[in-house]
């Protein structure tokens, strides 16, 4: 739906911007392309290099093919806890020395873990190329950790959990959604893990995890910025080339059984003062035709103030203060997640019905031309902004290689989005937005309501 058109002037205006936006943005997308070269060292390490000489800076991203999906029962949160241990010392680098060297030389570093992969990265001035490569290679070679350093990071991670989940209103809502929606343990449990499982992690677990997953043949290194490709390749052979490869880690069964009927639960949140409606539908893996159609659908549904949900729930009916939805771009079967913040005193059941009616419209009516074009222009915009830093490019190249075996997605993804047709959107709406495929979590507030402010 577009907003009700009120005057001839509006029609003219939207037509103009539509006609104007089409060729402009699409040619803009074509201008933003990343040229890169790819190598594989003898030990199986995949190396991707993109030169970009506009600033005297480079970024290195190392993506390991291991995430929380690889965790076993009783050790949830371990992949992320392990990520912290990668900063606590390796063969030639002391506890904390890694980040200190990066900071002291003007750079920035961090690590991040999700369901599918674990990523480490640095950005540095270009004259510190050896430093970044040496540090990443050294911790790929082997760790030097102690019971003490594990206990220390266990504490830090447990505080991270408290900060992001246990001490935040709605913190447990997201955890509850995936917990209820998934039957397969891989995506069912949260990345941050449970306190009990974090407590159970041992130094022996760390050693075993390293030996199974942290090997050059299970990682991708992307280096982007003011570098020379041949020089990077030579240094990669020097620093990473001597690391021994390993047998490939076990494949994880990601199959999710078809959901037979709606799942639903209500949780009480002692820190929240207002309810929240969270809805999830099982969808396909990321980077598939279905995913691209769902991604555009989600833009039409909830991006910007002209989106369907904002227009209907926030502006017209005025039953909510906010509403959004998005399609997860995961390597295994993802979720299409929706979240509505109702105004106080509104009937949650009615809001749910309105939400489902909006989803049903995608099944019955094709989206309009201008909606589709809008969604495509959003996609182009976000494609271009993902190229605004060497770090952003390096992360995309490394992650797409690890998750989808295709680093060139950085260049082709936008074409795939632009190829989506109205019929595709209607098809995926019918395929996924069914009652039986739905999981609903209602968060009810238990905090004392506000007094006078």
């Amino acid at each position: 739906m577009r907003i009700v058109v009120r005057s001839a002037a509006v029609v003219l205006l939207s037509l103009c911007s539509l006609i104007a936006a089409l060729p402009q943005t699409e040619s803009a997308a074509k201008k933003a392309q990343v040229k890169f070269r790819e190598f594989r060292l003898e030990n199986g390490l995949r190396l991707i290099v993109a030169e970009d000489h506009h600033a005297p800076v480079y970024s290195i991203a190392v993506s390991y093919n291991v995430g929380s999906r690889d965790e076993r029962r009783g050790r949830t949160g371990f992949a992320h806890l392990f990520e912290h241990m990668m900063f606590k010392g390796s063969g030639n680098v002391g506890d904390g020395e890694h980040s200190l060297l990066i900071a002291n030389n003007g750079g920035g570093d961090n690590g991040t873990t999700d369901e599918d992969r674990t990523l480490y990265y640095e950005t540095l001035p270009k004259n510190q190329l050896d430093l970044g490569m040496f540090l990443e290679a050294d911790r790929m070679s082997g760790l030097d950790i102690t019971q003490e350093s594990l206990d220390n990071q266990r504490n830090a991670v447990q505080e991270e959990r408290r900060l992001r989940v246990d001490n935040q209103p709605y913190g447990k809502t997201f955890e509850t959604v995936s917990n209820l929606a998934y039957e397969n343990f891989a995506y069912q449990h949260s990345v941050i893990g449970s306190m009990d499982d974090l407590n159970a992690a041992s130094v022996d677990d760390v050693k075993k995890f390293f030996s199974v997953y942290y090997a050059p043949n299970n990682a991708v290194v992307a280096i982007v910025g003011d570098v020379n490709t041949d020089e990077v390749l030579a240094k990669a052979k020097q620093y990473f080339g001597k690391i021994k490869s390993n047998t490939a880690p076990p494949q994880i069964d990601m199959d999710e059984p078809t959901q037979e009927k709606e799942k639903r639960t209500t949780i009480e949140d002692p820190l929240a003062r207002l309810p929240r409606i969270s809805v999830a539908y099982h969808i396909s893996q990321g980077e598939t035709d279905d995913y691209f159609a769902l991604s555009l659908l989600s833009t039409i549904l909830s991006s910007g103030q002209s989106s369907r949900l904002y227009t209907k729930l926030v502006k017209r009916d005025q039953v909510a203060t906010g509403a959004f939805g998005f399609a997860e771009d995961k390597r295994g079967p993802g979720l299409f997640q929706l979240s509505v913040s109702p105004r106080p005193g509104k009937d949650l059941g009615e809001i749910e019905k309105t939400l489902y009616a909006e989803l049903d419209r995608f099944k019955k009516e094709p989206v309009t031309d201008s909606e589709l074009q809008k969604a495509k222009n959003f996609a182009i915009r976000s494609h271009i902004s993902s190229m605004s830093s060497s770090l952003g490019i390096a992360v995309n190249l490394a992650d797409d290689a690890v998750n989808f075996n295709d680093p060139n997605l950085i260049n082709t993804e936008v074409d795939k989005l632009l190829a989506v047709k109205k019929e595709d959107i209607m098809r995926v709406a019918n395929k996924y937005f069914t009652d039986n495929n739905r999981t609903v979590v209602i968060t009810q507030p238990k905090a004392k309501p506000a007094g006078n402010q």
Binding site: L100, N127, L135, E159
Partner: protein, 505 residues
């Protein structure tokens, strides 16, 4: 997008540009205790240095690009920085900062009026409805927004998109800035949603800590206000907004800053056309009541039932942006808590495991900003964390920074300058700061030299002045039943509810 990011530490890399962008960039927070903690050796073990990694001894010398600068007849300052990439990234981003239109200029009985005025700009103009504006912006895949901000002297209108959309972006940006009509229907909806939003805001521990800290530090100064209120929202009508807009939005106080793929010759006439009719106006009066000077430290406990962590903030008044102590304070802060390799992080997290992160930071503005240290710690180590905070704050005051640590910190600050060349926004933000605070033309060219010149004595002097351990404001947001008695060890305690009412002492 939602819960996927699990970072090892607060992501400073991604934050750098945002922080420098804001004129009133609050860097992070800090407190004080009554009794100075005796100098027991509780500090973290030093990082273990094996010293085998290859480090290039040289620091890359860089010069930031200078933006094109022009002033329109009506006094509007224009700064343009072109993207240096080749080929250029085909995007443009614009921000219009209007001094005198921020929440520092709210009437006393309507906190938040400037913020509501700004956020209502895109809800309708003389020739376009709210829906029309949203439709046009969304269809282009562009962004258009406006906001003011508590503690800020300026309102800011932002627009960004594909560079081919620049005509349209300028047109809409000027239209919402100059011709807003504040339609009643859109206002009613927005006020209702904001009122509801207040309920959520008051469940957020970080907000509660920040609010209480600023209230205590700033007293009658308008920077003490950090949120609107239900009472204030009830007083806002289209007429109040129109009156505020008519008297606070002037071209002569505004800076339009543009970064990206733009042709200066081509865009200047378009800027003239879009903004030429805007009136010059009068300069805002930047005189405010003096913030209080506390004689002793006070602890403000915000009782947030069911909390599993205590949010601690310890700090005091700092400096204005033009204060010559800026550089000593910058280096001093970096030593104490300005990053994940600084003392607070190394002690409270990497040694004690009390928290996910502990930092310090400072703001420097037209009026005195704050310096503060802060952390979120699990409830049962609130006492231990207070002890370590006091230990570190006393240490930076009482002991000279070892030469090696000082050199490393200075090198870190200087070498990181190269990273800001990646994004034209960084250099542009620096240029905006220069304009606002009338800094000398060579300010950013000599910035790193000034850092290099800081000595251990300078750092200690800054610490004694700006880490006021015996008259600090200390805020703790957490479970009152569990932490009140602990906090009493560190000073007099006043207790507040999450709704901001004083409920005990």
């Amino acid at each position: 997008m939602l819960q996927t990011i699990r970072l090892r530490k607060t992501n400073q890399l991604f934050m750098t540009t945002i922080v420098t962008l804001l004129v009133s960039a609050m860097v992070i927070l800090p407190v004080s205790a009554k009794q100075a903690v005796p100098g027991q050796k509780t500090t973290g073990k030093n990082t273990k240095i094996k010293g085998k990694a290859p480090v290039n001894k040289d620091v890359l010398k860089v010069t930031l690009p200078k933006p094109y600068e022009a002033t329109l007849k009506n006094g509007l300052t224009v700064l343009i920085l072109q993207d240096s990439r080749s080929p250029k990234l085909p995007t443009v981003s614009m921000q219009l900062q209007i001094a005198g239109a921020g929440d520092l200029f709210d009437p006393k009985d309507i906190p938040g009026l400037a913020s509501v005025t700004a956020s209502m700009l895109r809800e309708g103009t003389k020739t376009r409805t709210s829906d029309q504006i949203s439709a046009a912006i969304d269809e282009a895949g562009a962004s258009l927004g406006a906001g003011a901000g508590f503690g800020s002297s300026a309102a800011t209108v932002t627009a960004s998109g594909i560079s081919d959309n620049i005509d349209m972006l300028l047109d809409y940006m000027a239209d919402i800035t100059l011709n807003p009509v504040f339609p009643e229907k859109e206002l009613t909806r927005q006020l209702t949603n904001q009122k509801i939003g207040l309920q959520n805001l008051r469940t957020n521990a970080a907000f509660l800590a920040n609010e209480r800290f600023n209230k205590a530090v700033y007293g009658d100064h308008p920077a003490s206000v950090r949120t609107t209120s239900a009472d204030a929202l009830a007083k806002i009508t289209p007429e109040t907004l129109k009156a505020f807009h008519d008297s606070h939005y002037w071209a002569g106080n505004a800076i339009l800053a543009i970064a990206g793929d733009v042709d200066i010759k081509d865009v200047m006439p378009k800027i003239e056309k879009a903004f030429g009719s805007w009136e010059k106006g009068t300069s805002p009066d930047m005189k405010w009541p003096e913030p209080p000077t506390p004689a002793k430290s006070t602890i403000y406990l915000v009782d947030r039932p069911n909390s599993v962590q205590t949010n601690l903030v310890l700090g005091n008044l700092g400096i204005t942006r033009t204060n010559p102590d800026y550089f000593p304070l910058l280096v001093m802060n970096r030593v104490v808590g300005g990053g994940a390799t600084a003392r607070l992080f190394m002690n409270l997290r990497e040694d004690k495991g009390y928290t996910y992160g502990a930092y310090s930071g400072f703001s420097s503005l037209q009026y005195p900003g704050t310096w503060s240290a802060s952390s979120e710690v699990r409830t049962d180590v609130t006492d231990g964390s207070m002890k370590e905070f006091m230990y570190e704050l006393n240490r930076i005051r009482n002991e000279k920074v070892p030469e090696k640590e000082l050199e490393e910190v200075k090198r870190s600050l200087i070498a990181s300058f190269a990273l800001s060349l990646e994004n034209p926004q960084s250099a542009l933000s620096n240029a905006i700061v220069s304009k606002i605070y009338h800094l000398p033309a060579n300010y950013w060219d000599t910035y790193t030299d000034k850092i290099a010149a800081i000595t251990a004595d300078d750092v200690q002097r800054a610490a004694k002045k700006y880490v006021a351990v015996d008259h600090m404001t200390i805020v703790a947001v957490g479970d009152g039943n569990k932490i009140k008695d602990i906090l009493k060890k560190y000073g007099d305690v006043e207790v507040y509810s999450i709704d901001g009412q004083k409920v005990g002492s």
